[in-house]
Symmetry: C4
Subunit: 186 residues, 4 copies
């Protein structure tokens, strides 16, 4: 369960309260880290990704609350683009083995400072962006180097609700969570 | 194992005994909460859902015992419709981001009172229906707000037998389980 | 790991030693109990099954050792038929909601007595056959009624090596395992 | 997490330090041991394999560090070939029920001694190669016979980061890991 029995430190709350744009890695962060490939009769293979329904709900809540979101991925994927549309993810940057140029491009587009950006990742290519943003988060299944570099480590793994957990931390730190829940109950 | 070593409270048994129509959320309740998307060569993506064989068996037992069933989902899915046919689920309401209108429509169609309806869910969009039905159930992987709102929380997660577990509770409370088992053994 | 740290009772060994034909349920026994459905653009859905590589290896060893194998399933599936061919499963009986007629047909075809047949299952439709065969096995994820009816319960779940585990028990009880391993090492 | 809280013995480090070519089994080693089959409308079935994103990242790091890699598999698979290209795996030997001829062919092609070869496997067909290479590794989900034959057993299962774990052991033993991490942080 997202955030159950978990104390969030004052430092994490302060950092989360400033986030206006939440960026995410895809494989291992928004998905469960599996790369599924389906062999085709013509000798090619199609890719499948595994997303999480509660993450999708969280991303929709983020959009309702005015928190902007985006993904930066080294791989290109129609699956990711469809999921972005369904979950109201605003920015989809794909096919960038190196993530800093895409990150800097988003800073320019959104006119936000680095303090206002959050980033969730699991592996080495996420490190350069994580070292610059105001709120960096490692998922529970991240490699040790990414855990050490993060301001916060989630309880749940990528594709198992880690993104939902981070969105709740941010929206709670910003005092927006309770009114979303009240609206949801109606 | 469904229901193993588990005491069901008298209140839950009383509520379960009245249920004539069992409604369910789909993603995270009748499935395992994963949203699988398969990239296609033309740039689109197809969706895959992951159901549970023992849930399917339970839904078939429910139909044999005269317990009516239905799903209410925010997403549209040929996979869900095929699964409904295989598992003898009577009502399939899809593409309804807000679930109350579909719920009220089913009340009218079935001429049942709210006390006679059960509902199983895992996330915030399930709350409005759960607050009205006679027997509301949260799956083991539900978000905290849904767990708090439920009359009962299952031991098994969505897509891992949670629906089967609820069907057994209902059919046992109604004294119908034993004769189904005897028939199955023959 | 199949068979690790596990004492097999003398009764189970005696029953296993007599088995000449090992029959299996499919969903939840030879697969992991998930029913995956892939939505298609034309509104239909295709089914995917999840088998286990070590089970496949075990079934191939069984064939090498002269142990005959077969599946009896309520569903029809090209996936199952391909897997049967790859794993050298001799008999594939599909689309039989009731399993006894298929079972009796196999008895006639193989000229075996019921004592010489083993069966692995997980759910209620498996009970009638399990009550007749000489060696009945429930997988670790079986429902309680099936566990109670079985001569043996596996440590591993269906689709996670349960079938391999049973094949090892049988071939060890028949004194055939060691020579298979020696041959494999060469 | 790969390698977390784990002492690697001096013997394993010495063997790992010599490896110039890392060979791997596919099903159960580079994948999670599941064999997914998708039924098609024409009665055939397509295969899907489940790889791991962190393994893929590790294989790319191996290529950057000059460690050559290859797979030897009994099955043929367009999915494996696409994954090999994405992850910079140099050698793909498929459809070889017996693995020794493919192994000896790779020795000739690479002009390496057996001491300079590592192999990761999970099941009986891996034993003959494992008994010859300088550094043999069993994944956490390997069968007992393979575990006993291995110089090292990984903490993580196949398809869950076992290959990444082995690549880290090798590159750390060769003193190449730290500079890769420094480069990744930049």
């Amino acid at each position: 369960m997202p955030g159950k029995n978990r104390k969030i430190s004052a430092n994490v709350r302060r950092r989360a309260a400033r986030v206006r744009l939440l960026l995410m890695d895809v494989d291992g962060t928004l998905t469960d880290g599996h790369v599924y490939l389906v062999s085709q009769a013509d000798g090619t293979a199609l890719e499948m990704k595994c997303f999480n329904a509660q993450d999708g709900q969280g991303l929709t809540l983020a959009a309702q609350a005015g928190l902007r979101t985006g993904v930066i991925s080294g791989r290109e994927s129609p699956a990711m683009r469809r999921r972005a549309k369904e979950s109201r993810i605003e920015f989809v940057c794909e096919g960038t083995a190196v993530k800093i140029p895409a990150y800097e491009d988003l800073l320019r587009k959104t006119h936000l400072s680095e303090e206002q950006v959050g980033y969730i990742g699991d592996d080495l290519p996420d490190l350069p962006v994580m070292r610059r943003v105001g709120f960096s988060v490692a998922v529970a299944n991240a490699v040790p180097e990414v855990m050490q570099a993060a301001h916060h480590v989630t309880q749940r793994a990528g594709g198992d609700g880690a993104v939902r957990e981070v969105i709740e931390i941010i929206l709670k730190a910003q005092g927006k969570w309770e009114s979303l829940i009240s609206k949801a109950k109606a």
